[in-house]
């Protein structure tokens, strides 16, 4: 087995976050709630977002759901990286994450923790696992003030 490849994909941080996520749960209060869904495998994620009073800055992100190590670690790392970001910055990070999955970008030093996900770009069939949470966040931030989920965003 090509363990070196696997170590690239399953970096220690990813395995740790999968085992012991730090941002599982529901924010209080809930300003945005969005479900995401990967129809090909059945993985689901439910993101909640707490915003500042002006509604233009993220105070907290939490996630619930079931999925593989890649999907869950991606959600946990994303939730952490989003704290204190303006919604514009957050959307820009979503963009950057997607580019990173294509092998075309990485995050700057202050967000370098997210770069542990870079190895996924070598496993094209797993990119959807990593991006599910980011798609879901984008939908959450672009939705109106309604905290009720409008439905699933799908990752297809």
């Amino acid at each position: 087995m090509t363990l070196a490849n696997l170590r690239d994909l399953y970096q220690q941080v990813i395995l740790e976050r999968y085992k012991k996520p730090k941002h599982r749960g529901v924010t209080a209060p809930v300003h945005r709630l969005q479900r995401g869904h990967n129809p090909s495998c059945g993985d689901t994620i439910e993101l909640t977002v707490q915003l500042n009073e002006a509604g233009d800055r993220i105070e907290d992100v939490k996630f619930e759901g079931e999925g593989c190590a890649i999907a869950m670690a991606s959600a946990d790392l994303m939730a952490e990286a989003m704290r204190g970001k303006s919604t514009d910055e957050a959307l820009e990070m979503v963009q950057r994450f997607q580019s990173m999955m294509q092998g075309n970008a990485e995050f700057p030093t202050e967000q370098r923790k997210l770069n542990v996900m870079q190895g996924v770009s070598q496993f094209p069939v797993r990119i959807k696992c990593a991006t599910l949470t980011w798609h879901t966040l984008k939908a959450a931030l672009e939705s109106s003030n309604e905290p009720q989920p409008v439905g699933f965003v799908s990752n297809e």
Binding site: L6, Y10, G42, V125, R126
Partner: protein, 419 residues
């Protein structure tokens, strides 16, 4: 374990499957995703190539030589399929794109006679293909869906099935072999019970046709559906078997060329069976490929294939026991490997099936991870998703060994973190 055959079927046939002889990530390919689709032998690939190189023409439409050759091969393949399932008449075999289309054909055509309150019996283990068309029919007609559950051993609950049957039951549509549980449902007994209540029976034989001899007359099903691509044939071709009188009584499904007898501007009369249900230019090469696949399987012998796969099942389950973290769904096989088919859907503790599949792929082993198009069954089993290894007659014990070794490594790789 006893080593039974000196030279297994697999050893003899592997050279017929060029695709099996390649490396994936530097390791020999071990293809264990046969329930999704099988590989194709040279005989089938040659039939496709020969057709396009020498005989290609539209069928039933010309008097020239190529058209007549194409028609003969296309109709000849129908005879082969009819013989393969022991249909009473070649007119009982309707080509479709796949099993899904065959089920939809029945649900639309025959289903159009259903009324509000009529009952349709399915089981919780159905593939989405044998669920959604009936949901749609129920929505159109007001018919009611009823579901057979599972026994403690995760098999078709025949007793509960009997209790669901009544004069309101119009159709029972159930899978013969579950693509997730691997259980073999008592199709013949299901037909007999349903018929006592005047209900029709459709058998989804996608996962049994490739692995065991099927006799539709002995089974006495009203319809039976299959997909060619799971039984060594190309994609894009499947078939519907239906009893002659029943198919005659059913209105056409799709309208167009090929399915007509006489056409006027405002009406038409329809062709006789099976063409009534084959509108438009069909998948000619693929149907010929299906005929070649049926010849190939018949030459080996379905009983031999079944017996060899039982040996593989016994060995597979024996080896799977070496990994205590595994939870395997469906019934246990008997000691001789009978009682279920050569596939195993399982979970491995906290290791997600997707992660397992990626790790196994690095070892050259192709398995499936996900819900295998049986989401309601997974919900019933309280599993978000499962990993599935599914075997065919070209798989060997050595491949099972490679699979088990890499599965152990994968469980260890993740086991470390869960301690």
């Amino acid at each position: 374990m006893t080593i039974i055959q000196e030279k297994t079927i697999a050893v003899k046939v592997r050279s017929d499957f060029p695709i099996l002889h390649q490396q994936i990530h530097g390791k020999p390919l071990v293809y264990l995703d046969n329930a999704a689709t099988s590989q194709k032998p040279i005989a089938v690939l040659d039939a496709l190539r020969h057709y396009y190189e020498f005989d290609n023409a539209n069928v039933h439409r010309g008097v020239h030589t190529l058209s007549s050759r194409a028609t003969d091969s296309y109709e000849g393949a129908r005879d082969k399929v009819a013989a393969f399932v022991n249909a009473a008449s070649r007119q009982e075999i309707v080509y479709t794109r796949n099993a899904t289309e065959a089920i939809n054909l029945v649900a639309y055509s025959w289903g159009s006679t259903l009324k509000s309150g009529d009952e349709i019996i399915l089981s919780v283990m159905e593939h989405h293909s044998n669920l959604i068309p009936w949901q749609m029919l129920a929505q159109r007609t007001g018919a009611v869906l009823k579901f057979v559950g599972l026994t403690e051993t995760e098999e078709f609950d025949f007793e509960q099935f009997k209790s669901l049957l009544s004069d309101k039951t119009k159709i029972v549509s159930v899978v013969h072999v579950s693509n997730t549980l691997g259980c073999i449902n008592p199709a013949k007994e299901i037909c007999a019970e349903a018929h006592r209540h005047g209900a029709k029976v459709l058998i989804d034989a996608c996962q049994s046709l490739p692995h065991m001899a099927i006799d539709v007359q002995d089974m006495d099903c009203d319809w039976l559906v299959g997909s060619g691509h799971k039984m060594c044939a190309p994609t894009g071709i499947g078939f519907l078997y239906g009893k002659l009188d029943l198919l005659r009584s059913m209105p056409p499904f799709l309208g167009g060329g090929e399915m007509i007898a006489d056409v006027f501007l405002d009406h038409a009369t329809y062709a006789d069976l099976p063409h009534k249900f084959e509108a438009g230019t069909p998948a000619i090469a693929e149907a010929i490929g299906l005929g070649a696949a049926v010849d190939y399987l018949t030459n080996i012998g379905m009983d031999k294939i079944h017996a060899y796969e039982e040996e593989l099942t016994a060995y597979l389950f024996h080896k799977l026991k070496e990994i205590p973290e595994l939870h395997i769904y469906g019934p246990q096989p008997n000691a001789d490997g009978s009682g279920r088919t050569a596939l195993a859907a399982f979970t491995a503790g906290d290791v997600h099936p997707h992660d397992l599949s990626t790790i196994l792929d690095q070892a050259g082993v192709a398995i499936r991870a996900g819900h295998h198009c049986t989401q309601p069954l997974h919900r019933h089993l309280k599993a978000q998703s499962t990993a599935r290894a599914s075997l065919y007659f070209y798989n060997t014990r050595e491949e099972i060994d490679v699979f088990i070794a890499s599965l152990k490594e994968a469980v260890e790789f993740f086991g470390g973190i869960f301690g």
